[in-house]
């Protein structure tokens, strides 16, 4: 099993109410908006016609939206559903939703919140939307770790487990959030850069005005 070159064929970074696709600012909203309002506006802008979205918790909404933005332009249908892997990570797991669920326990425990009290549910929501059936994993760590993202996804590609891997970071805690998703594939496509920690860091670090 040798390490072969892979490419980042798409990326989406969302933070401070700004949405970047493939390194370019695509859309933004006023920073003063509440997260839920921002998410609704982003849904109207990039999706619509997916009522299940409104039932999701903020973590799932964020991951789902970023995947929506990223995959709209990516030739993901070239891959078999069983060959698309998803590997995500964050800092707060599902704590944002756990706390809201816990608050309902005193009265009537909310079934709708309960089903989101696991961080990997966001992976499930993306899989259900796009029909992906490949390997997936969710890691919890202190901060975004480009080396970890690249090494795990590279392993999946090298071992033949997946031909495409959606990977990155989906974090939310109350109003604080950050999403950075990358699509790694074996093929080189137009505008693709090498799937290395350095390139992942570069895409992750994009900020307004830069």
């Amino acid at each position: 099993m040798s390490k072969q070159t892979a490419y980042i064929t798409g990326s989406c970074v969302v933070r401070k109410h700004q949405v970047y696709r493939n390194g370019a600012l695509l859309w933004q909203e006023a920073p003063s908006l509440e997260l839920q309002e921002f998410l609704r506006k982003a849904y109207d802008r990039f999706s619509g016609q997916y009522p299940k979205f409104h039932k999701m918790d903020p973590l799932s909404k964020l991951g789902w939206l970023a995947a929506e933005v990223l995959l709209r332009e990516a030739p993901i249908e070239d891959h078999l559903p069983e060959q698309v892997a998803i590997v995500l990570s964050n800092r707060s797991a599902s704590l944002d939703t756990d706390l809201r669920y816990y608050n309902t326990v005193k009265d009537i425990p909310s079934p709708a919140l309960f089903v989101y009290t696991l961080p990997n549910i966001v992976i499930g929501e993306i899989c259900i939307r796009h029909g992906f059936k490949g390997e997936h994993a969710f890691f919890t760590m202190d901060s975004f770790d480009a080396e970890q993202v690249v090494s795990y996804a590279q392993l999946l590609l090298d071992s033949g487990v997946a031909t495409a891997c959606l990977c990155g970071w989906v974090e939310v805690m109350d109003q604080q959030y950050e999403v950075a998703l990358f699509l790694a594939e074996r093929q080189q496509r137009e505008g693709a850069v090498a799937f290395t920690a350095a390139e992942v860091k570069k895409l992750y670090a994009q900020q307004s005005g830069s």
């Binding site: 425990p109 089903v115 989101y116 549910i121 899989c127 059936k133």
Partner: protein, 400 residues
């Protein structure tokens, strides 16, 4: 050529018995394990019947030979794993390359709950951090591996209700790839407030003793326990003093990708798992002599499972039953416990009864077996473990 995975023995502790022999006796006597909550500290006592292991932690610790302050999940695990090892008759464990693949879903949650009760009452001084040290699922496995002197390969699987079955699949692959000679594989889970409250939130707990595969079913009862088989290679199987029970001839897992908790109404994942296991063992549906079904007693599971069985087996159905009508749903342990029951079924020709069955379901093609019988000719037995999020696994145990 890679080795087959043989079942050399098994051990079980659950709501109907502290060892496999007691469980068998309970099946014969139709003695089910559901009672009012006795050991778990919860406000739901008196409301939901559960199938607890009928012993407190002090008694379990003495039986397990482990400290009583450890999680009940670990104590149950050690007791069943030790029984399985002794049943195999392989002697000194240090003489082999041994793997331990243990499933659980709650880890040391029982102790964590105790910690928080004390801590929240007095955040300055309440609660001992020692109580949360083994919160993580893998920690429970490691405690038991250390206690048993297992060093070569230790792994934990947590895939909801299919966990225990997946542990057997993983263990069989370790044997087939010659990474170890023996694997103790199965699962364990203690009843906790967390589990009870979670299932209550989903409104799938029956306030009466559960009625799997019955049209009048209104939910499941939770249980607790542990169950392990000992898997061995061809070479070791030939040296077993009493010979192997049977062979793990096929296994498969699949997923519905349908919903966070529910199975797809058509039971797509169930169908794929059963079909995959049959394909691997090179069998036809009519070769299966008995199915130990997942059969939780919820509306959703039993109708999905019934439809999948109909799709695969029609028009000739083998006898089926849900042993959860005795043990309750033991979650991460259930795949391990039912693997032991199913492997023993092949060896002794047992068809287990389904308790409290009265009314056939529309979506279930045949009525389940309702009485215990031994000495049947069973060449191949299927064990299903279908769980939350459409995680579905099927195992097939076969004679020689």
């Amino acid at each position: 050529m890679s080795s087959q995975a043989w079942i050399a023995g098994g051990g079980v502790i659950c709501g109907i018995g502290a060892n496999l022999q007691q469980c068998l006796e309970a099946f014969r006597q139709m003695g089910t394990g559901m009672q009012e909550i006795q050991y778990l500290q919860t406000t739901h006592r008196g409301i939901f019947p559960v199938a607890e292991v009928k012993a407190d932690n002090t008694a379990l610790a003495a039986q397990a030979g482990m400290p009583a302050h450890l999680s009940r999940t670990a104590l149950l695990s050690r007791i069943a794993a030790q029984e399985a090892w002794e049943a195999a008759g392989l002697g000194d464990i240090s003489q082999y390359r041994v793997g331990f693949v243990s499933a659980n879903t709650v880890g040391g949650m029982d102790k964590t709950e105790d910690f928080f009760t004390d801590y929240l009452q007095n955040p300055q001084q309440g609660g001992h951090l020692r109580q949360v040290m083994h919160h993580e699922c893998g920690s429970v496995t490691e405690l038991v591996a250390d206690a048993m002197g297992i060093r070569h390969h230790v792994s934990t699987i947590s895939t909801a209700c299919s966990s225990g079955a997946n542990a057997l699949m993983y263990g069989a692959r370790l044997i087939r790839n010659n990474m170890v000679d023996v694997v103790i594989a199965g699962g364990t889970d203690a009843l906790t407030r967390f589990t009870l409250n979670g299932f209550n939130t989903l409104m799938i707990l029956d306030q009466q003793p559960c009625r799997p595969l019955d049209d009048t079913r209104t939910g499941l009862n939770l249980g607790e326990g542990a169950g392990y088989v000992v898997l061995v290679s061809d070479a070791l199987a030939a040296r077993l003093p009493n010979g192997p029970w049977c062979r793990l001839s096929g296994y498969a897992n699949a997923n519905d990708a349908y919903h966070q908790t529910a199975s797809s109404p058509e039971g797509t994942g169930n169908y794929l798992a059963m079909k995959g296991a049959l394909t691997m063992s090179g069998l036809q549906p009519q070769d299966i002599g008995y199915i130990n079904v997942h059969g939780t007693g919820t509306q959703n599971n039993d109708s999905s499972e019934g439809k999948a069985i109909e799709r695969l087996f029609a028009p000739d159905y083998p006898p089926v039953s849900s042993t959860k009508s005795f043990t309750g749903h033991t979650l991460g342990a259930s795949g391990g416990i039912e693997a032991v029951f199913s492997a023993l079924a092949v060896q002794q020709g047992i068809i287990y009864p389904n308790a409290r069955f009265t009314t056939p379901m529309k979506e279930w093609p045949v009525a389940p077996a309702t009485v215990f019988s031994g000495g049947n000719r069973l060449d191949h037995v299927m064990s299903n473990s279908f769980g939350f999020a459409g995680n579905c696994s099927s195992l097939i145990f076969s004679k020689g």
